[in-house]
Symmetry: C2
Subunit: 428 residues, 2 copies
């Protein structure tokens, strides 16, 4: 039995709407799939044996979803993949982002595996799309649970590349929300100026449906039946104007990804998209270098409590917090300045072009479970606080997924997802 079998949110929502299925049957399906594959996958920290279906009215009524275990769900502990939190008390309230999905009718199936405090030390989760390879991190469990079809929707979070990278490695789609889109209360964060919410689904088209529900506009019928590009409010009604980012200046993109990018570029152009070279490769490299400075400095302060018991942390997290302590105010200032200037320049570019398209990760998922791969390709966009969509569909020669990402202007997730869906359709 293949572990990789993403569950289409659109199909489920349609079936729930037409009565072809029920929320009870959807939950049974989730549990059956989970029982069959979770022992091998290890995507979950805890699942509800009997989630409450009574309040599952709304656009996503009855859609089961998973929540990364650094995000509060009322009544469940938030353990953050850390022994320090083994005895955490149940959270008193849902984080706002969880509340928002619940209000749209979705039903919490459980908490998913995170790396330790959403940094690098991995949990036990496997990659359903590339056995023996990392699922990526830090939102490992959410990406894997969606890739394995346990749930059609899962919540993650990203400070560096914690959503986009696992989506790419596991062959699913993700959306990183604009920084500040929802309050971060109830999220055990690393870096308040970088931490963002994220969400996983089988495809960008599924995310467009999910977002239209979260955004409260009610379901986008056009997105639901696949005609979004011709009619939906958020859809551009034309091929996107694309800045194509090769990321060569970062020096981390591998040969297979490079080849895949060439193919993406020509398919977009063939589809009628305007495709120009991204003109600020060097600036992005500078911001990519500035990002870890901001992250370490803020993490040392945000996680001061854990810093005080560094001997109970993994080596990478202890090193991050130590690095943050050693980071001088002047270095932090300089890094924030680099980011601030880049934000303005990228926003300028995105007032003329619709999206930036580039690699979501250096290549396919690296071998082994000991490390979660390199977040370098996300650092710059994350520092700029921009929303990003990981689009699946490409494969390396051995079948491992290769992801690309689509970055758009702040606060317009709906339009970004419409462009992402257009791109997804033109990769197929």
């Amino acid at each position: 039995m293949s572990l990789y079998a993403p569950w289409s949110l659109r199909a489920l929502v349609r079936d729930l709407a037409t009565g072809a299925t029920t929320s009870r049957a959807a939950l049974d399906r989730a549990r059956a799939r989970l029982d069959a594959t979770e022992p091998e996958l290890a995507a979950w920290v805890v699942t509800s044996t009997e989630p409450d279906l009574s309040s599952s009215a709304g656009a996503l009524g009855g859609v089961p979803f998973g929540v990364k275990d650094i995000v509060d769900v009322a009544g469940l502990p938030t353990r953050c993949g850390s022994a320090l939190r083994a005895d955490a008390a149940p959270a008193r309230a849902d984080a706002p982002i969880v509340r928002a999905w619940r209000r749209a009718g979705a039903v919490v199936l459980g908490k998913t595996v995170t790396t330790e405090f959403a940094f690098f030390a991995p949990g036990p989760t496997h990659n359903p799309a590339a056995p023996g390879h990392t699922p990526g991190g830090s939102s490992s469990g959410s990406a894997a649970a969606v890739a394995a079809g346990h749930v059609p929707l899962a919540i993650g979070s990203q400070t560096a590349g914690s959503v986009t990278r696992p989506a790419a490695y596991c062959g699913v789609a993700s959306l990183v929300l604009t920084h500040g889109r929802f309050p971060l209360d109830g999220v055990v964060g690393l870096s308040p100026s970088l931490d963002s919410h994220g969400v996983f689904a089988a495809s960008a088209a599924d995310l467009a449906v999910a977002w239209s529900a979260l955004d409260g506009r009610g379901l986008d019928k056009a997105a639901l039946d696949g005609s979004a590009l011709d009619g939906a409010a958020a859809a551009p009604g034309r091929p996107p104007r694309v800045l194509f980012w090769s990321a060569e200046a970062l020096g981390v993109v591998d040969g297979e990804m490079r080849e895949a990018l060439r193919s993406v570029r020509s398919r977009l152009a063939d589809g009628g998209a305007l495709v120009d070279d991204f003109p600020e490769e060097r600036l992005v490299a500078e911001v990519t270098a500035a990002h870890p400075v901001v992250m370490a400095y803020e993490a040392a302060r945000e996680r001061a409590e854990e810093r005080a018991v560094a001997d109970r942390l993994s080596a990478p997290l202890a090193a991050l917090l130590r690095a943050g302590e050693r980071t001088t105010d002047a270095e932090y200032d300089e890094a924030r300045r680099t980011v601030a200037a880049a934000r303005i320049r990228i926003a300028e570019l995105l007032s003329t072009y619709d999206v930036i398209v580039g690699p979501a990760a250096p290549g396919a998922a690296p071998e082994g479970l000991a490390a979660t791969g390199d977040p370098a390709l996300s650092r710059a966009w994350q520092a700029c606080g921009l929303p990003a969509v990981a689009v699946p569909g490409l494969r390396a020669a051995d079948g491992r997924p290769l992801g690309i990402q689509v970055v758009g202007p702040a606060h317009d997730e709906a339009r970004l997802l419409a462009h992402g869906t257009w791109i997804e359709n033109h990769l197929a």
Copy 2:
């Protein structure tokens, strides 16, 4: 002795740089001015008798500043203008925004009066520019301390109109930072999706100097000597392209302000600015109505602890928290949706125009100290998370200050301040 005597930050920074004055002399001047007028003004909660001048290197080395008493300063309690906090322990660390000003060399003179938890119940502060009239709120003490020349710089915060309005009433300039520009840690907030940092100075030109120091670029020499418009990096080198917002759709602007706006409009046009009508009056009215819904809903959750002891709160704050409890999820969703759509539309407009210019308050400061005036003119921009500069210089017939505000695109405070300075110069 007139209470109104703003202290030019530019002049002080120049004098400190040339050795015409020293940080010790600046502090003595602040204390002398404070001793002479504070009994009448009541702008401060606490002042340091002997602030540390030893670490006052940096672009603002030796510049004394005040901090609104909802923002943490290490070693001082954060009392939030509330009896509930009368015995608050000293804060363990500076809030990031305080740390940033200190790193630029500025020296904390003390904590300034805030309304109760930065909502409507006023403190004892008087308006130096309009005796017998409110200084506005919630950052009452910071605005008044700058207007009275106690300090050339003070920190505030804004959730609705808590920076822009007191600046306008007290005849000083203010900058509301882009939402999320600095982390909100160490700030006792009301509404995480609305709370922003703010800063007061005598003029927009002073704020441009202050910002260039905070931003870490080092002092902007061109801003310092007043030639910013011809040379500085952030300066546009041309008159701004202005969308002129009359705010008539809100129905609150009074006759004197309306007349002042006509004069502003013609002076901008005479100066060579492109001035077009703001085309989304109605949208702004909708967002203005949505803002209090978001604020109440979030405040009821953010201040849940205080909600539990509502009998110890002022009537307005207790009513806000009750309103937030009664606000349904659906109402909150609908309000956030309105805001989200407006953000996108306003950002579109601000990719073609440089700034939106309109009234900072309905008119001059209302009479009496029992209420702090109407924040309606700020709600929409605040909901959209945009930076805003209040520009002083206009007066009502009886001499009370009238303020206008200049709103720009997210994250480019430097350019906004350059445009604000251009506008300020053309009002004089």
